[in-house]
């Protein structure tokens, strides 16, 4: 118990207990007032002693809360605009509490005391609530109750790049750095709650820095901002502290880049030189900008449906954690029946992005309902040209595997209207080199590999 030996640590610890301790006086004093009123209104005499007892306990609890609150305020970081009234409200609360006790005990037989006592209790209750409210403002910010105001703040969730339709058109500070800082740091570094003297809400306030001084534009290595972000998670200096929402590696890279570029305010990413790692982030963000995978309006598929599909012999997995999208394979290859499969999968038709029916016995199939499909594997099936008609409406399809099927030239012409197609596998089908040429003219982005060993 070495920490007990050091006063600064004890005071720190007790100070940090304040948010815990304040609830005792709030609860106990409110209860005391309530019991006293109850007694007077309904003449419940038995409550008298309990109310007095509660006032005593409330007194000690408020002393304790006040003491710890004083120690906490020594840490700094709270806006004095709110802190000073909070402190005085707390002190008046104790005074009113003492007054109430004195009226109840010493002057209880005086005629005037009852009215004064009731008045004191009413004020006491008001002050308790007011003090608590100010404390809440210090901890949660003044807009905590204000729903509309929270909405007005430009809050981007998760990785901000995913919400930018054209990441490179974005402004580095306004569209990327500021939302990251707002989401991850804003709850403690805002104009109301300036922890460490640092307000990270606007460009100017960020540049002003906190207690450790303004940001030094000329020295990246001395950036306090970066140092704090990169401290180990267990370190006292680490920001955001352990237990708070952390920055992802990508977000950290972006912040580092912003610092390395000497904190630019008004510059679009297209006008900047992207270092390798940043270029990669933007390239990868295309993945997050994928028209299908980034759709976050789709609710997750019903777990019950997934379980019943698995029992029926479907391999069903979400493509990544937190994603609503599914990959589906059918395992009982010989027994596959296209109509039955379509019916089974109907409840999750919009969830399926990767669909593997390779090697199954299906012949005809209607894929039009699976409108989010990006990968479809029909290789080694009995599928023929007519089935490709339903594929021609799949605007998101990128990968289409048709090898070793009955598809012919005619079917391949259905594919020319699929703008997203990137990979087509027509090996070992009736599709001829001239069809491939035809397709390549219409889909210049697509890679079509006819294979090498199809002569036999």
């Amino acid at each position: 118990m070495i920490f007990l030996l050091n006063w600064s640590n004890v005071s720190f610890l007790i100070g940090r207990m304040h948010p815990l301790l304040v609830h005792f006086p709030i609860g106990i004093l409110s209860l005391a007032v309530l019991m006293e009123f109850w007694r007077i209104l309904f003449n419940k005499k038995e409550l008298e002693k309990a109310a007095l007892f509660s006032l005593y306990v409330g007194f000690f609890a408020s002393i304790l809360a006040g003491f710890s609150g004083y120690l906490l305020s020594q840490d700094g970081g709270y806006s004095t605009d709110t802190l000073t009234p909070h402190r005085w409200a707390g002190i008046s609360l104790v005074v009113l509490n003492i007054l109430a006790i004195v009226l109840k005990t010493v002057f209880r037989n005086e005629k005037w005391s009852l009215r004064l006592y009731i008045l004191t209790l009413v004020i006491l209750l008001g002050v308790v609530l007011y003090t608590g409210h100010l404390g809440g403002t210090l901890t949660h910010g003044s807009d905590f109750f204000n729903v509309s105001q929270t909405d007005q703040v430009n809050v981007r969730k998760n990785f901000p790049l995913s919400e930018l339709s054209q990441p490179k058109e974005a402004y580095l500070f306004k569209d990327i750095v500021q939302p990251i800082l707002h989401n991850h740091c804003g709850s403690c570094h805002n104009p109301q709650k300036i922890k460490g003297g640092l307000d990270l809400s606007t460009f100017t306030s960020i540049m002003e820095g906190g207690d450790s001084g303004p940001l030094n534009v000329n020295s990246i290595s001395e950036s306090e901002l970066l140092r704090r972000l990169e401290e180990p998670l267990n370190s006292e200096d680490r920001m955001p502290p352990k237990g708070k929402l952390q920055l992802s590696n990508m977000q950290l890279e972006l912040i580092k880049w912003w610092v390395a570029e000497k904190y630019p305010e008004d510059i679009q990413i297209v006008h900047m030189n992207l270092p390798n790692n940043i270029e990669l982030i933007f390239n990868r963000s295309e993945d997050l900008n994928h028209p299908v995978y980034s759709n976050d309006t789709l609710p997750h598929a019903d777990e019950v449906v997934l379980t019943s599909l698995r029992r029926k012999g479907y391999g069903v997995n979400v493509i990544a954690e937190d994603s609503p999208f599914l990959e589906v394979r059918y395992k009982f290859k010989k027994a596959a029946d296209a109509g039955e499969i379509a019916e089974d999968l109907q409840p999750v038709a919009h969830h399926i992005v990767w669909f593997d029916l390779s090697g199954t016995a299906i012949e005809e199939a209607d894929f039009s309902r699976f409108e989010n499909l990006t990968r479809l594997n029909l290789s080694q099936t009995n599928i023929s040209d007519s089935a490709l008609k339903s594929i021609s409406g799949l605007r998101n399809l990128e990968y289409l595997n048709l090898h070793s099927t009955q598809i012919s030239s005619e079917g391949s012409h259905q594919l020319g209207s699929l703008p997203s197609l990137k990979n087509i596998y027509p090996w070992n089908t009736g599709i001829l080199p001239e069809d491939v040429q035809w397709l390549k003219q219409r889909l210049p982005e697509a890679e079509i590999f006819l294979g090498v060993a199809d002569e036999s």
Binding site: K242, S323, R329, G451
Partner: protein, 489 residues
């Protein structure tokens, strides 16, 4: 280093409200909650939740499966991929001390009085649109070089075979940790309940048919549930030993026996809550399914003639590298997660001019054939193929150096691997070695980086896939590893 007393003291006193609450209220709460979640740890006799169930990937994967063409013994990068005209020029001259630096040597060449540099005996040329340098020893690989990504700056920690292969497979030189394939099986689960998610195929090299031995612990599951260990498919009658029923036992009896055994084991699970029993139940089921699936997958009679033209005639001979490559494609088609090949015999300490061409002949056509075959079947798109050994070979000669012969010793400081398929940028060469081909001078890639990259492509964050054993969480990449983003498509 000066120890700052004040800081040490502060560290010792590091208890604040957060820690305090965590250690007291949360600690006790979590203790109770933990008991609810994990009935084995406390007094409860409730049923153990199935902790073997696969998780979903951390991010959207680029590859769904891996074929690792492990070239065991250490292929000579100087004679295959890492072309050094300067080394040819310096042929016979002494290796400068400044290049060797503090590099340790193996006991096999450290006693040599002289370390003459030796250039390659084979001609190199640039191939494809990418202009990759490949030796004449690998004509088929050269022909598909636009589909490959050559990484010339891989380096490792170990200088001898077993620790180096163990390091590559398990992330640690000391044996006993789970193999890469076991980690993938544990992290991603199986997509085919009839075949093991981690399958191993071994072939012997013609260059040095007797060396180096491999140990089955290289594909062991370590502390992971034993369901995730690699299963070796052998050549010949019995691809998996003791898998077939003995004479006189029909399949129905076997089924009844396994069902009864399962019931008995379930009784034990409910009593002892040992996850290894659950693992055994699943293994019995898998083995039963494999009684039909393994003969099916190893039967090449449904493969057309054109396939053997592609992989080479050798592919008809079970147990050859070519046959294993073909098997790898068949396993990939059946969604086996991690297919690990080992081709032995790359350990050319002497007589490279005789041994190396034979080794290359073993693997060249089949490796290239595998890539082409995967590509035409649309499998290369989501299959990651890796070719490489546990380390490289020295720029200097080991043993007799004559006009007809020379050898090269183990060299961990740099070697070449190639990658292809799922999520890899093809048609590039990454990383550079110096003019001697001795040290990496640009974009070094550590073995842990390779592992992190493989996991990344499969949708796994290598820092997040952990397993607690002996009181701490383990990772394949230990506390190291950076994803090589530059080689990702």
């Amino acid at each position: 280093m000066k120890v700052d007393d004040q800081r040490v003291h502060l560290c010792n006193c590091n208890m604040n409200r957060r820690h305090f609450l965590q250690k007291t209220s949360m600690g006790l709460g979590m203790f109770a909650l933990g008991a609810l979640f994990n009935p084995t740890s406390l007094f409860s006799k409730g049923r153990l939740t199935d902790n073997l169930k696969s998780e979903s990937p951390h991010h959207i994967p680029k590859a769904k499966r891996v074929i690792f063409l492990f070239q065991s013994g250490g292929p000579s990068q100087h004679d295959l991929f890492d072309f050094k005209p300067f080394l040819n020029h310096m042929n016979g001259d002494e290796l400068p001390d400044s290049v060797r630096g503090e590099q340790r040597l193996t006991g096999m060449s450290s006693f040599q009085n002289s370390f003459p540099l030796v250039g390659t005996r084979w001609s190199f040329d640039q191939y494809g649109e990418s202009g990759a340098w490949v030796s004449e020893l690998l004509p088929h690989t050269a022909a598909i070089s636009d589909d490959l990504c050559f990484v010339k700056s891989v380096y490792t920690e170990s200088i001898n075979h077993d620790p180096a292969i163990t390091f590559f497979q398990t992330g640690s030189e000391s044996p006993g940790l789970p193999s890469m394939g076991s980690w993938m099986s544990y992290g991603l689960g199986s997509e085919n309940e009839n075949l093991p998610a981690f399958t191993v195929l071994i072939s012997r090299g013609s260059g040095r048919p007797k060396d180096q031995p491999l140990f089955s612990r290289l594909w062991g599951n370590g502390f992971l549930p034993s369901l995730h260990q690699g299963v070796q498919l052998r050549a010949g009658e019995d691809p998996v030993l003791y898998l077939n029923d003995p004479d006189g036992l029909n399949r129905m009896s076997r089924r009844n026996m396994i069902s009864a055994l399962k019931d008995l084991n379930q009784l034990h699970v409910s009593e002892f809550e040992n996850s290894e029993i659950t693992s055994h139940i699943q293994q019995y089921e898998l083995a039963y399914n494999m009684q039909t699936s393994v003969p099916e997958v190893t039967d090449l009679s449904d493969e057309p003639e054109s396939v053997f033209e592609l992989y080479g005639e050798e592919a008809r001979k079970p147990g050859t590298y070519a046959a294993n490559c073909l098997m790898a494609r068949r396993l990939a088609e059946r969604d086996v997660r991690f297919i690990q090949l080992y081709h032995m015999g790359w350990d050319q300490h002497d007589n490279i001019p005789r041994q190396l061409p034979q080794q290359c002949k073993d693997v060249d056509k089949a490796s290239a054939g595998l890539i082409t075959d995967l590509k035409q079947r649309g499998l290369l798109d989501d299959t990651l193929v890796i070719w490489g050994g546990e380390f490289g070979r020295t720029a200097y000669c080991q043993g007799p150096f004559t006009e007809h012969t020379f050898g090269r010793d183990h060299h961990p400081r740099c070697f070449t691997m190639w990658f292809a398929g799922g999520g890899i940028k093809n048609g590039i060469s990454y990383g550079k070695t110096d003019d001697f081909g001795y040290n990496v001078i640009e974009n070094p890639v550590h073995v842990h980086d390779v592992q992190a990259t493989i996991m990344h492509l499969l949708g796994i964050d290598h820092k997040r896939l952990t397993y607690k054993s002996q009181g701490r969480n383990f990772r394949l990449t230990d506390v190291h590893g950076e994803v090589i983003h530059d080689i990702l498509a």
